[in-house]
């Protein structure tokens, strides 16, 4: 039996901690991914993720269902990320992957992807991460919410508390910086562009 978020919220409000644990199970990966991409540190992203659910649980009686539960969670998480960035007073720290162990690679992938492909995919991932770190926080967050969490312009505007047009500008400017950076590093060649 699968409950909707709303049903689980209602049951949690009725004092059923297990229902809230189901909500955690459902949303902890996206929230962690959001936090990681915004602040760029694994350990701190986990702390943000944990704190998000703790705060959500405590604030549950005040949650009136005016927004989707997930939007509410995202908002809490983003506020925490913003606090973190303010505290650190610095851009996200990118964790560049160290030399990759071949054994680790074999364990992680099926037989389909060759090690060369995987290494290059990892390098590309690291390159994107590096490029994203160049963006101002608002642009980075807008792109993260759009690209990795599939939010609409309006949802991002609500989340960031800004007009719709600002969201579009942030996305455009962010994408343009990313494009230049990736081109400069040889990852966006005309060949690749044509292939897509």
């Amino acid at each position: 039996m699968t409950f909707t978020d709303d049903e689980l919220v209602a049951r949690s409000m009725g004092g059923d901690a297990e229902s809230f644990n189901q909500l955690i199970l459902r949303w902890e990966r996206p929230i962690y991914a959001l936090a990681y991409r915004v602040i760029g540190r694994e350990e701190d992203a986990r702390d943000v993720c944990q704190e998000t659910f703790l705060r959500a649980f405590r604030a549950l009686p005040g949650f009136k269902g005016q927004a989707k539960f997930s939007s509410w969670l995202y908002r809490i998480a983003l506020n925490l990320c913003r606090d973190w960035i303010r505290r650190q007073r610095r851009a996200p720290v990118m964790q560049m992957p160290e030399g990759v162990e071949p054994g680790e690679l074999i364990a992680e992938t099926g037989p389909v992807e060759s090690i060369e492909d995987l290494v290059s995919r990892r390098q590309l991932s690291a390159l994107v991460e590096q490029a994203m770190a160049l963006l101002p926080e608002e642009q980075r967050t807008a792109i993260i919410l759009k690209e990795y969490h599939g939010m609409t312009f309006q949802e991002i505007a609500d989340m960031q508390g800004c007009p719709l047009s600002t969201v579009k500008t942030r996305l455009y400017q962010g994408l343009t910086v990313l494009r230049r950076h990736l081109e400069k590093n040889g990852q966006l060649t005309p060949q690749l562009v044509k292939r897509s």
Partner: protein, 260 residues
């Protein structure tokens, strides 16, 4: 909506890129892109950039946060009111290292023994108290050693206990201390459990030896062969017990994994 599209209207271009525009707006931009190579090129490049973005995946993290009610006592930890979200212990989802597997098996083995012993004590101080005969030892000499049957209720109780212990572990590791001391503490706990288990095993052996000696005293006329047979049965039963406990370990592994 825009009747025409002018180069450099980035907002509209972004709407088109993410396919978040009205159909007529979409048609207008499509018509423009068909004749303007600059805009066409920009759209293609931004599209390719988006494809690159899709390659970025965060590192795998061990999550598995849970709200744990404060019903169970948590000494030495900050006593907050209300439930808490706790970080799972480091070892939780990783494959266990060999020493930890051995330790876990020892701990569960010890728990199994405790169950058997508890039955004995609960049944009364005298061994004459009726015990449920284990199905595996049925048909054996009734005066021989008997094993307590492990019922579903026992397993359920054991499961509850282990879950409680796991929750305690979770608390321990989530305490705001460095990872290394937490590991050391777990190691210490495991060592304590192993010691306890060894003590229990020797107590158990002592108990059984006493039984054999008592039998001997009570039936002086019995010859040595009878004792030998008793010891032989004891060995056999112990073997069966080990097998049962191995089964139990497997069951508990499954239960604890499913519990996630």
């Amino acid at each position: 909506m825009n009747e025409t599209f002018t180069c450099g209207d980035h907002g509209v271009l972004v709407s088109y890129l993410y396919d978040e525009c009205a159909p007529d707006e979409r048609r207008t931009i499509s018509a423009h892109v068909a004749i303007c190579s600059a805009c066409a090129e920009e759209l293609t490049a931004l599209g390719a950039t988006r494809e690159q973005l899709a390659l970025w995946s965060p590192p795998d993290a061990q999550l598995g946060f849970r709200i744990v009610s404060d019903a169970a006592p948590a000494p030495a930890l900050q006593r907050e009111k209300g439930p808490r979200v706790l970080r799972p212990p480091q070892w939780w989802r990783k494959p266990m290292p060999a020493w930890a597997q051995a330790a876990a098996a020892a701990a569960i083995f010890a728990t199994g023994l405790t169950l058997g012993m508890t039955r004995g004590t609960v049944g009364g101080p005298e061994r004459s108290a009726p015990l449920q005969a284990s199905s595996v030892s049925s048909g054996a000499d009734p005066s021989g050693p008997r094993t307590a049957a492990v019922t579903r209720a026992d397993l359920a109780a054991l499961e509850q206990r282990l879950r409680a212990e796991m929750r305690t572990q979770t608390r321990t590791v989530s305490a705001p201390v460095a990872a290394a001391p937490a590991d050391a503490r777990i190691l210490e706990q495991v060592r304590a459990m192993i010691n306890e288990s060894e003590q229990r095993q020797s107590r158990e052996l002592g108990r059984r030896t006493t039984e054999v000696v008592r039998d001997f005293d009570a039936q002086r006329s019995d010859d040595l062969a009878r004792i030998e047979r008793t010891i032989g049965q004891m060995d056999a039963t112990t073997g069966v017990e080990v097998a049962q406990q191995r089964q139990m370990v497997n069951y508990l592994m499954r239960v604890s994994q499913r519990g996630q």
